[in-house]
């Protein structure tokens, strides 16, 4: 195997492919990236057994066909450290790969390509074509609410729901829930729901760099595959049921608060400094058209700030994890934010004043 490539052509796919490679592996070969040369094409594959990313890059000229695996992080670090526009030549020499760029030379260890695990063909049950911008939007507006290492496997992922007229995502960590739906026009039947694991969601989002360009999604009972430009991304799905999110969205709110989104963000950013570091609780006192935000911590320190709002309903005192409110305010669009509340023990709904395509449910805290 031998090929010549520019640093830039190699670096971009290498970074995306290396993104799925875990720091610690169960098998040594999972630390490696698979390089396959076919004519003037190089393909690179990284995997952790659950998530697989294949990238393709054009070579400067046809090389010598072949395949081998080399340490992913090291290859990436070498690539990054080389000067811009450097020409990289790699060739296999027995059990090593020699990389040469200008006067730099590196000998990398290898493992045979036939030991590299790959995910079998995905038998597609549903195939759909979307604009990258559509998928990117529903992921960006909800992924922050996914759980991290929750004992409930189904919370450590993103629900992707596809219908002929709507693409929707839902994420929840049990304290808050985020959902976003965009209009689509697809030739599919019924409602297809899959739970995409947390890591896969984050890696997939990185591929959505051209909002206007299309991508193809293939859903099977066990896998999701995305074909985006020069990349093929495949992930196992979370095997399980996702909670009925409709049931979680409260309908009993009888108090509405409309506030300037950026101004409120800043109020929370300041008051959060003196909130309890572990629980991050802040108290919201809403009366007439004033929202007062108060934070206390175990050191008996206190932060307090008031902001003018438009409030309809009886006065209310309610506690929240300020981080959850900040997360929502940072992903919402529009100048103003609308919050619908019921009482101190019931969840609040946050959304754009005109409704928008996203909706957030945040459970309060008892303070």
């Amino acid at each position: 195997m031998k090929f010549t490539i520019t640093r830039e052509a190699l670096l971009k796919p290498l970074q995306l492919v290396a993104g799925v490679v875990e720091r610690r592996q169960t098998m040594p070969i999972l630390a490696n990236v698979l390089l396959v040369v076919e004519g003037d094409q190089l393909s690179l594959t990284g995997t952790d057994h659950e998530v697989e990313m294949i990238g393709r890059a054009p070579l400067l000229e046809a090389g010598i066909d072949g395949e081998i695996t080399v340490p992913a992080k090291k290859l990436m670090d070498i690539c990054k450290s080389l000067p811009d526009q450097a020409t990289i030549e790699m060739h296999q020499d027995e059990h090593r790969v020699l990389l040469q760029a200008g006067r730099s030379k590196f000998m990398l260890s290898t493992l045979p390509a036939n030991e590299f695990p790959n995910i079998d063909d995905v038998e597609g049950q549903v195939t759909l074509s979307l604009q990258q911008g559509q998928l990117r939007r529903v992921i960006d507006r909800t992924a922050f609410a996914m759980a991290q290492q929750d004992v409930r496997y189904y919370l450590n992922g993103l629900l992707l729901e596809v219908k002929s007229d709507e693409l929707r995502t839902v994420a929840t960590d049990g304290h808050r829930l985020a959902t976003c739906g965009v209009e689509v026009n697809l030739d599919i039947e019924g409602k297809n729901q899959v739970i995409v694991p947390r890591k896969a969601v984050l890696e997939l989002a990185k591929l959505m760099t051209d909002p206007e360009e299309s991508l193809t999604l293939v859903l099977s009972a066990t896998h999701i595959r995305a074909q985006v430009g020069d990349y093929t991304f495949t992930s196992k799905l979370v095997d399980g049921k996702f909670p009925d999110y409709e049931r979680v969205i409260p309908r009993n709110g009888n108090k509405t608060l409309i506030a300037d989104r950026q101004a409120l963000r800043q109020v929370f950013a300041r008051t959060a400094i003196l909130s309890n570091e572990k629980y991050r609780g802040v108290r919201l006192l809403i009366q007439d058209d004033v929202l007062q935000v108060v934070a206390n911590n175990p050191e008996q320190e206190q932060a307090e700030e008031s902001i003018g709002v438009d409030f309809q309903g009886e006065q209310l005192e309610i506690g929240f994890n300020v981080g959850y409110l900040q997360d929502v305010l940072s992903v919402l669009d529009g100048d103003d934010m609308k919050m619908t509340l019921a009482d101190a023990n019931s969840s609040a709904v946050m959304e754009e004043v005109e409704g928008g395509d996203a909706l957030y449910v945040v459970m309060p805290m008892r303070l």
Binding site: V151, R152, T172, K241, V248, S347, P364, M365, R366
Partner: protein, 234 residues
Amino acid sequence: MAQQVIEQLPLSVQLRDDATFQNYYAEDNAEAVAQLERASSGDGEQSIFIWGPAGVGCSHLLQAACHQAESAGLNSVYLPLEELIDYSPAIFESLEHLPLVSLDNIQVIAGNSHWEEALFHLFNRVRDAGGRLILGAEKPPETLGISLPDLRSRLQWGLVYPLRPLDEQGKVFALQRRAKNRGLELSDDVARYVFNHGPEDVHELFKVLGTLDSASLSAQRKLTRPFVKSVMGW
């Protein structure tokens, strides 16, 4: 100064752990379960009587049959008679139009002539209409204390199964299965701990899982022994 209690309230995103045949764990009662499964798909014996003391799973199986019927597209009703005894037996009217009627705790109507008579007629109507009637009680038909001889004999017409309770290992295993339905991992050690410290009644024991589910969601903690201890105050 009283310690400030700070608690994040959880959203109700827990998975439902309804009574189903899949989460009924009891190898000893496999025959009864198999017959009830047939009944809930509109097949098999027209009347099935299951009995056993509280906690053996009569209510679970009777409800499971209705859930199964529902998913098979059959209408059904589950009536816990202990909650309905103060009302009129008129609730039995027209039930024969349902493919599956499930009556729980029928010992509560023993000796009550109005209810006994109403059940006798319901039994006949369901039979004539070709439906299925499944019944649960604490005791077998002959010692239930039914005064109406015709009802007593009818209750023995179909299949009669005593349900055998789970042994200790079975209960621990069942607890783990129920936890798994909720997406929770309950290790052998913790399951045994819950069993040893929790309520004796199996039904109450399973309720502990609901409490732990909410608490672990609120605290975003795994179900470890110290966590269970602190939540349950054991």
